[in-house]
């Protein structure tokens, strides 16, 4: 129980830290944030339930006014802004990503992690994000999709990085990759 709470809190902090360290962001060569990588990692490493909880905890802190989103953004305004759909989609993205990693055990973890991140962290997340934009901007879904397609290549790159990192972490710290190992004191 203590380890789960510590890991959930730590991954919430990790998402925040990934948004605060510009050096990592810039190294991709594209002006993208590493925060959605954090969401993918929550799923691939913590698994469905705990990954979603970590993302929810992070969003709760953003909602109560901590400037933890990349660029020092935060506060309640974000949850009614045009990008609110993405925030709503984050915990679900982490959940789906984690669920795929938990269930699909026949392929190498790097492959599973990458594909799970693409399905959960990109497909699921963009469905929510696009619906959110479509509602707030009163635009048809297709046009709303057009506004965000520029960010998809960067996210695919992040999905592959998430897969590779998960496989490497499973070797380095197998006990902490909860999506693949049941710790002794599971909730």
């Amino acid at each position: 129980m203590e380890k789960n709470v510590a890991l959930i809190a730590l991954f919430a902090a990790l998402i925040a830290a990934l948004g605060l360290i510009p050096k990592i962001t810039l190294a991709f060569g594209v002006p993208i944030t590493a925060q959605s990588l954090g969401v993918m990692l929550c799923g691939t490493i913590l698994g469905s339930k705990r990954g979603a909880l970590a993302v929810l905890l992070f969003l709760l802190l953003v909602a109560i006014g901590l400037p933890l989103l990349s660029g020092g953004r935060g506060g309640l305004g974000l949850f009614v802004s045009p990008t609110a759909g993405f925030l709503v989609g984050w915990p679900i993205a982490a959940f789906v990503t984690g669920l795929i990693v938990e269930k699909w055990r026949s392929a190498p973890l790097a492959v599973v992690g990458s594909i799970a991140s693409i399905i959960g962290g990109i497909l699921v997340m963009y469905v929510f994000g696009v619906i959110g934009m479509s509602i707030t901007l009163e635009k048809p879904l297709l046009e709303a999709t057009g506004l965000v397609t520029a960010f998809i290549p960067g996210d695919v790159l992040k999905a592959f990085i998430a897969g590779m990192l998960t496989a490497a972490l499973a070797k380095a710290r197998p006990a902490s990759v909860l999506s693949r190992s049941e710790p002794a004191d599971a909730v």
């Binding site: 709470v5 990790l14 990592i24 400037p67 305004g77 802004s81």
Partner: protein, 204 residues
């Protein structure tokens, strides 16, 4: 770290956080239900007035946080200029600005501790379901404490990388970063358990 709270103290700081949040919820629901440009314009004027009342420092801080809406205002504005639906475009832009503006006002005038109290109050009924809301409060405190720790770790790793390589740090740095973070989580868990764990949470 950039602060999202107001640089000056306003009357709204004294209002109960729960009431402000409830009011915001109702106001946002109404904003999205109303189509009339006149009403949207009046609401926007009212919100602008709220920002202007506490003085210049407050207004500047508020505007800085609304800057992130600029690209969307531009896109929607140009779109509706293109399609000649000026009225619809204006009403969408005004609605987004008012909705986000109002929500930011609540964030600016509510202290973090008051917000955490609201969260604690809302999640208290969850205890009937077996969820300990004290654990949530502890988790909030842990994230606030751990974020600067992780940022510092990231900074140290970046320096270590720069001392050894001619190339700028790239995504590979995230692996040792995450390993260090996982080790930190282990130590935090041990520390929590050493202090009695969650079984004794009610006594704290």
């Amino acid at each position: 770290m950039i602060s999202l709270t107001s640089p000056v103290r306003t009357i709204a700081h004294g209002w109960p956080a729960g009431t402000k949040l409830l009011g915001l919820y109702v106001a946002t629901a109404l904003l999205f239900a109303i189509e009339s440009l006149l009403v949207q314009g009046l609401v926007f004027t009212f919100v602008s007035l709220l920002y202007a009342l506490p003085g210049k420092a407050f207004l500047v801080a508020g505007m800085r946080q609304l800057k992130l809406l600029l690209p969307f205002v531009l896109i929607v504005g140009l779109w509706h200029l293109w399609t000649n639906e000026y009225e619809l475009g204006a009403s969408i832009v005004l609605r987004i600005l008012s909705a986000v503006g109002l929500a930011n006002l609540v964030t600016m005038t509510t202290r973090l501790s008051d917000m955490v109290d609201v969260v604690a109050k809302i999640t208290k009924p969850l205890r009937w379901l077996g969820l300990n809301s004290r654990v949530l409060e502890l988790a909030i405190a842990l994230v606030i404490r751990l974020t600067p720790v992780l940022v510092e770790r990231g900074g140290q790793l970046t320096q270590a990388w720069k001392a050894r390589s001619r190339h700028a740090p790239n995504w590979r740095i995230i692996l040792p970063f995450t390993v260090l973070a996982l080790d930190d989580a282990d130590r935090v868990a041990e520390a929590l358990r050493a202090r009695g764990g969650f079984n004794n949470m009610e006594d704290i």
